[in-house]
Symmetry: C2
Subunit: 194 residues, 2 copies
Amino acid sequence: MEFKKVEERTNMGAKLYVTPQPALMIATYDADGTPDVMMAAWGGQYDNNQVCFSLSKHKTTDNLRLNKAFTLSYADARTVVESDYFGIVSGNDVKDKVAKAGFTVTKSQNVNAPIINEYPLTMECRVVEMRDDEDGGAWVVGEIVNAIADPSILTDGKIDIKKLNPVAWDGSSFNYLTLGDSVGKAWNSGMVLK
Amino acid sequence: MEFKKVEERTNMGAKLYVTPQPALMIATYDADGTPDVMMAAWGGQYDNNQVCFSLSKHKTTDNLRLNKAFTLSYADARTVVESDYFGIVSGNDVKDKVAKAGFTVTKSQNVNAPIINEYPLTMECRVVEMRDDEDGGAWVVGEIVNAIADPSILTDGKIDIKKLNPVAWDGSSFNYLTLGDSVGKAWNSGMVLK
C-alpha cells in the first residue's frame, strides 16, 4: 500500500463536507402562489420512495410548512448557472426569482408544488416530516408520489444518467462536477472476493 | 427549450433513487473487537460537522448501538471491488470480512472505531443520534470529531478531489461512477444573473 501509516497522516480537523453530494433543486409555492426554487446539497435518499434534506431557514422552509409539498429536480451541466443562482439568491429578496432566471413552471397534478419546466426530471413529493431546528431551519423527509421525465433523458424507457447529466456538488472544493464513466456495477464484486 | 410540455412527458412512478449519492464506507467494531465495514449510499451531510445515513438492520447497526462511534471513508476507483464487497457481504456471515478482502485497520485515537488503512481519507465520528425503525434498521446522525488524510490526496494542505477520486453511487443505473470535470464554482453565478 502506498499510503503512510495512520499515525503519520495529516489531521484535517472536523470541518469537512461529504462528497459527492447531489445538487437537489427543491421547488415550492409561497402563500401567494409564486413559485420558488432553491438548491439543497445536504440531502439524499432516506428510504425507498423517500428523500430527505437539511435546510437552513429559507423561504422554502416556510413554503414547505405551508403546502406540505415540493418537487425535486437536479441541477445539470446545462442549467448550472441558473441552478447556482437559485442556490444563492433568496425568494425573499427577489420575489419571482424563477422568472428572473428565465425559467418557467407548470403546476404539478399530484402535489401542490411547481414543476420547473427547464429540468427534464422532476419528482413530485409530499412532506411526511419536518423536524424544525432552533434557527428556523428544518430537516425534511419527503415521499415521492410520482416522477415525470422528458423523453430526451430516457433510453428504453429508463433514466439514462448520461442524458440526464446531473452535476455532483463536491464538498471538498465547492465545485459542481460532472459525472464520469462507470468503474463498476454495484452489488457485483462479491463474486470476485467470496 | 427542447423539452416536451410537462403534460406530454413520461410518468416514471415513485420508485426512484436520488443521484448522485456518496459511497460512504462505515467502519465499526463489534463486541469482540472485530472490525466491520459496510457501504451506505443513503446518506450525506446533515449539518456543519455532522453526517447522517439510513441503514437497514446490519451488523453495523448493532455495532453503532454498542460503541456509539464509527469512521467514515469513501469508496474510490482504486478500491471499488473491495468496497462493493463490503456493501454486499455481511459481517454476520463472514466474521472478519475486512481481512478477507485483504484490508487492514488501525484503531482510531479519537473514537472507538477502526480506521481502514486502505482508504486515504477517514472521518472519525461519534454517534449523536440513532432513530431506530421497526425493522431493526436506523437513521444515524454522526458528529465528525476529526479527520485523517494521507498526504497523497492533498494539494497545498487541502483535500484534492482529483487525487481522492471518490466514486459516486448512481441511483439511476446502480453503477459506481467517477467524478468528472468542474462545470462551475458554487455560489458564483449570482453575479451573472442578478
